[in-house]
Point group: C3
Chain length 135, copies 3
């Protein structure tokens, strides 16, 4: 069973906690045991699981990605003319989806895990799909 | 239901659009609602979802990965004697599979999304598995 | 159907082959055709598929990740006070789960593929969940 929701991001690069929306989709599905996949139909956004406690973790992840995939690397200009190639690269590194086991009708997330839409070329309106299969 | 196909890659590092083959596998399965996983049984190739419009995006992704995981980083030689350690590293960064929701008998890909076999140590003949489960 | 096991890691950063434990979980499930997802409920550990033959591949992957996400990058100190931000970053790059097709009651892994728990902030006791759905 699939459903979806939209997220309005507010910065160029931003992690948005979508765990509540995913939990709501799981409850609506009625699935007790199986697998929940969260997917973004975009190529300059991603989905990742990360710590939901200290917001500095998100800042550090965003900053580390910017160091790894800099906006204008010396001596090697990007060719894609839209100017958002770093966002495309980061999307492939982070991935378009996460899969979380469903156990007892709940997401089997660890205590500190949250599911994040990772905006890489915002601000924009982004769609998120939640696909749930029974075990 | 699982099926598969082969891809003959033609360069050391190359992104090959396999969306048509995955769509054909989905149609053959008859699954209307569920999840489609595309998997490579290799450790020097990967699968990623990326923009299918401007080929410069693929060139930028390939070039950015080469900067992040250089063939011969100064002061830190690779130990693996086959000489393809960068390919192994990139495979773990990109991942061996992607998961795409199936809705109404179709892949729920975004308008600009394509599914790519990512050759990292070619040219070679590569196998791709498509695994489809009902929702 | 979900099950799990624990792994006691023995180093700060370490790849631990958990393929035998995942195979045992698959056999216990009785599933013949479908999908097997291996998931870690942690944000400073990951799961990846990598070569299981030459241990130097694992050393090269660990070393390459340390170069990409250094412990103390010049001019850009991490904010998260626990001191394990690089582990969080690497976890998002590698991913919290892998998905492997199940065919004929077996994991459809390639000859050289193993499933690895990737400890990024050890040594610790880590939990691994195995979620199997029928095709």
């Amino acid at each position: 069973m699939s459903s979806g929701f939209e997220v309005a991001t507010r910065a160029r690069v931003q992690m948005v906690d979508v765990t509540p929306e995913v939990r709501a989709a799981l409850r609506a599905s009625g699935v007790v045991d199986g697998l929940c996949v969260v997917f973004v139909p975009h190529t300059t956004a991603a989905v990742t699981i990360q710590e939901n406690s200290d917001p500095d973790v998100q800042r550090d992840v965003v900053a580390a990605l910017a160091r790894m995939v800099p906006d204008d690397p010396p001596g090697a200009g990007y060719r894609h003319l839209e100017g958002n190639s770093p966002a495309h690269v980061k999307a492939s590194l982070l991935g378009n989806s996460v899969a979380v086991p469903v156990e007892g009708g709940e997401l089997a997330l660890g205590t500190w895990q949250g599911i994040y839409l990772f905006e890489l070329d915002g601000p924009r309106s982004r769609r998120v799909r939640v696909s749930i299969v029974s075990g």
